[in-house]
């Protein structure tokens, strides 16, 4: 198992947003986590990436414990993520956004930078190569020198994905990547995600509100409701699961 999360509990005030969730993700698959609004999806992804510290439970990535580590350590362990509400480095160029994540593979000292030594130039070249490769994977190669906050919305989402994969993580967490996209844009996004797995063999954990979107591309789906995992299986199993239909689809109809 690449990711093993056991018994994660996260409380806010008296309310348990996550109430003992287990999640095991093997290497190389696309795992989806779905659930209605308020089911704990975002809390789960924030706990995995270290934005929240879970109150109980353990999270292991490739055997290393993540609970209690600062987020940058977790990122260095090989976890990268995107955000539901986009968080780019707005004033940096598109390329520089991606370089920020890519540069940890080629550390240099301040002295190298100030004296512009060969080590610094080499590091910059490698960082740039990594960053360009990541941009090409999501199809943003031509926008490299634009300011990040000048990109249209859908491309900002793609840039977040490029930034995440530029860190060359073991696992990519996508937090509602299709939120706010049109159907065409969302379909293009799915293709990019599938491509990513094909080309760089990355493991993806996809948190989505839109069930239809994940059915097509996920290998496995876990369903959360009220902070608990109520089902897990292949897309076809999930579609037939009575608990899921009752909790998830039932409530969705009630909303509509």
């Amino acid at each position: 198992m690449l990711l093993q999360a056991k018994g994660i509990v996260k409380r806010f005030g008296g309310v348990s947003a996550l109430d003992g969730v287990d999640l095991n993700v093997p290497q190389g698959i696309i795992q989806a986590v779905i659930g209605p609004n308020g089911s704990g999806k975002t809390t789960l992804i924030n706990s995995l990436s270290g934005t929240y510290v879970p109150d109980e439970g353990s999270i292991q990535l490739n055997g290393a414990e993540l609970v209690g580590a600062r987020p940058h350590k977790i990122a260095q362990q090989g976890l990268a993520r995107t955000f539901q509400n986009i968080r780019l480095f707005g004033t940096l160029s598109v390329l520089d956004n991606v370089k920020v994540a890519a540069q940890r593979h080629t550390p240099v000292t301040l002295l190298d930078v100030m004296l512009k030594t060969g080590a610094h130039k080499l590091a910059e070249r490698e960082t740039e190569e990594r960053a360009r490769a990541a941009l090409d994977l999501v199809g943003l190669g031509t926008r490299a020198l634009d300011r990040a906050n000048a990109l249209p919305y859908a491309q900002q989402r793609l840039l977040e994905i490029a930034r995440a994969i530029a860190a060359e993580p073991l696992m990519l967490l996508l937090d509602e990547p299709a939120a706010g996209m049109t159907m065409t844009e969302a379909l293009a996004l799915l293709e990019i995600i599938q491509n990513l797995r094909k080309r760089i063999g990355i493991t993806v954990l996809l948190v989505e509100h839109n069930v239809r979107l994940v059915m097509g591309i996920s290998d496995r789906i876990a369903v959360l409701d009220f902070g608990r995992k109520i089902a897990e299986g292949t897309p076809s199993e999930i579609q037939k699961d009575p608990a899921v239909i009752a909790a998830y689809l039932g409530r969705r109809r009630a909303h509509a």
């Binding site: 990436s49 270290g50 934005t51 600062r70 987020p71 940058h72 977790i74 990122a75 260095q76 990268a80 993520r81 955000f83 968080r87 780019l88 480095f89 707005g90 004033t91 940096l92 520089d96 956004n97 370089k99 920020v100 994540a101 540069q103 940890r104 080629t106 550390p107 240099v108 301040l110 930078v113 100030m114 512009k116 610094h120 590091a123 910059e124 960082t127 930034r163 995440a164 860190a167």
Partner: protein, 312 residues
């Protein structure tokens, strides 16, 4: 490429002949002060401009550097040793302030550095045996290294221009390196920077420290070119003026920081008739710039240029 070299060459010539136009005297001293302020504001730009943390301690770091050099060279230490000491003292002070506060929310650094500025002022005034109290230190020896002694204001000017050029060069290199990107990323989104593998606390402390070293080294040059220092030059009021220079010049812009510092050091000389009103205008200008052109003049000028070009 050719035009760029030509412009640089013309600038260099212009900078080289300024002193002979001004002559030895008061104006060249003001110009020297402006160059020193530019180095200090460039330092401030790392932590406030790039990293988005408010630092009111820059004048105090400047003062620590100046007093370190003043005390050391009056005691007979070689100038180069004093220069090193000035940078070191400022760096240590910045670590002592930054490490406990930069893991907290942004206003803690602001408050702590104001407090630090006040403590430095009180110590400079009351530790008379060492600092000379309110009357300060006089007859500080001039810059002397590698067999040269820089006695006149005119000669100091060339040394200071060289120091500023180095300060700009290093700032540009840091800006375009992994360090600069990490700083700006931390300012734009601390959460995303951290999750991209950037140790944001370390980046903030580093930015503060680089800035403090700039200020400390500039303090050394200040003491050994003006030859007289007193607590008045390093108060919190001065710290606020330094921030003002950065904001009006353009937070996050290296050339804006230099232009802001030089412009706002020279301008009060031209506007002496305004008397106390000039600080009122300063403050109002800051509010106006933040509200209408948060990027400062550095962003306003290119905007105007593009608009003019578009109009043609």
């Amino acid at each position: 490429m050719k035009t760029k070299a030509l412009i640089l060459g013309l600038c260099a010539c212009g900078i080289a002949i300024i002193p002979s136009l001004l002559g030895e005297g008061y104006l060249i001293q003001v110009l020297n002060l402006a160059i020193l302020n530019a180095i200090v504001v460039l330092g401030l730009n790392f932590v406030t401009g790039f990293t988005g943390q408010i630092n009111f301690g820059q004048a105090a770091f400047f003062g620590l550097g100046a007093y370190a050099t003043g005390i050391a060279t009056l005691a007979g230490a070689p100038w180069l040793a004093a220069l090193f000491l000035s940078g070191l003292v400022a760096a240590i002070a910045s670590l002592a302030l930054g490490v406990p506060t930069l893991r907290l929310r942004s206003y803690y650094l602001a408050m702590t550095t104001i407090g630090f500025g006040e403590i430095v002022r009180l110590v400079l005034i009351h530790w008379e045996e060492v600092t000379g109290g309110t009357s300060g230190l006089r007859a500080i020896p001039p810059i002397s290294a590698f067999g040269f002694r820089v006695e006149s204001q005119m000669a100091s000017y060339y040394v200071l221009v060289f120091a500023l050029a180095l300060a700009i060069l290093f700032a540009l290199r840091i800006r375009n390196s992994s360090f600069g990107r990490a700083m700006i990323a931390t300012r734009d989104s601390e959460v995303a920077a951290e999750l991209s593998g950037v140790n944001t606390i370390r980046v903030k402390v580093l930015a503060l420290m680089i800035g403090a070293i700039y200020a400390g080294l500039a303090g050394c040059f200040f003491a050994s070119t003006i030859h007289y220092i007193s607590p008045d030059s390093f108060t919190n009021r001065q710290a606020v003026l330094l921030l003002t220079m950065l904001i009006i010049g353009g937070t996050g812009s290296i050339w804006g920081a230099v232009a802001g510092a030089i412009g706002l050091t020279m301008l009060p000389e031209a506007f002496r008739f305004l008397d106390q009103w000039y600080l009122v205008l300063y403050g109002s200008a800051v509010i106006a710039v933040i509200s209408f052109a948060p990027g400062g003049l550095a962003s306003a000028i290119p905007n105007v240029v593009t608009r003019l070009k578009a109009a043609r």
